[in-house]
Point group: C2
Chain length 111, copies 2
């Protein structure tokens, strides 16, 4: 039987004391997560350094991603970005105006 519809933008919390990670789909090859941020950032000097490729899509809100070389990219609604495995990065800013909703797809690196 087909699964039921889940809306990723409905019924969001009004505020969060920490980022919220929710797994939507998980198979041996794939993980799809919804991540909610409310002004939270990755602690200064701390980096994500992942074994998997991560493809992200911003569904609501606004955020900045910083790379270890200092470069920073600003993300707004509809923006997608590939974070290749081992590409060190951190979330350096998320808006406090509303909940930021990320879609993140993790999968084995292609190379």
């Amino acid at each position: 039987m087909p699964a039921s519809v889940t809306n990723l933008l409905d019924s969001l919390p009004s505020s969060l004391t920490a980022e919220l990670f929710e797994t939507l789909i998980k198979t041996p090859e794939l993980r799809i997560e919804r991540i909610l941020s409310d002004g939270q950032v990755t602690p200064e000097g701390q980096w994500y350094d992942q074994a998997e490729d991560e493809w992200i899509l911003l569904l609501q809100g606004a955020a900045h991603i910083q790379y270890a070389d200092g470069r920073e990219v600003a993300l707004t609604v509809g923006d997608s970005l590939l974070l290749p495995a081992r590409c060190q990065h951190r979330v350096s800013w998320t808006t406090e105006d509303e909940i930021t909703v990320w879609l993140a797809v993790f999968y084995p690196p292609s190379q």
Copy 2:
């Protein structure tokens, strides 16, 4: 080097004579597509009957998915839905008011 940002909602065509399929990510285990519809539907009596699981997310617009048993689900912005492998389905309606933007993730069935 990290890839650049791609916005999935910017620079949409104002109208389409056919659905537009665009591959965003492709690995041996995974395919992420953006699909644009402008009132198009799957021809009556024709069904998608896929070997892969497909997880969809509506980013803009509105659409209906119909199953072979006659049931129909209405999708609005933010709605996600798992279409398991071999679950026959068709797109039975998309709005003509604006371009409908789908995100579709295809991957090997987990069972």
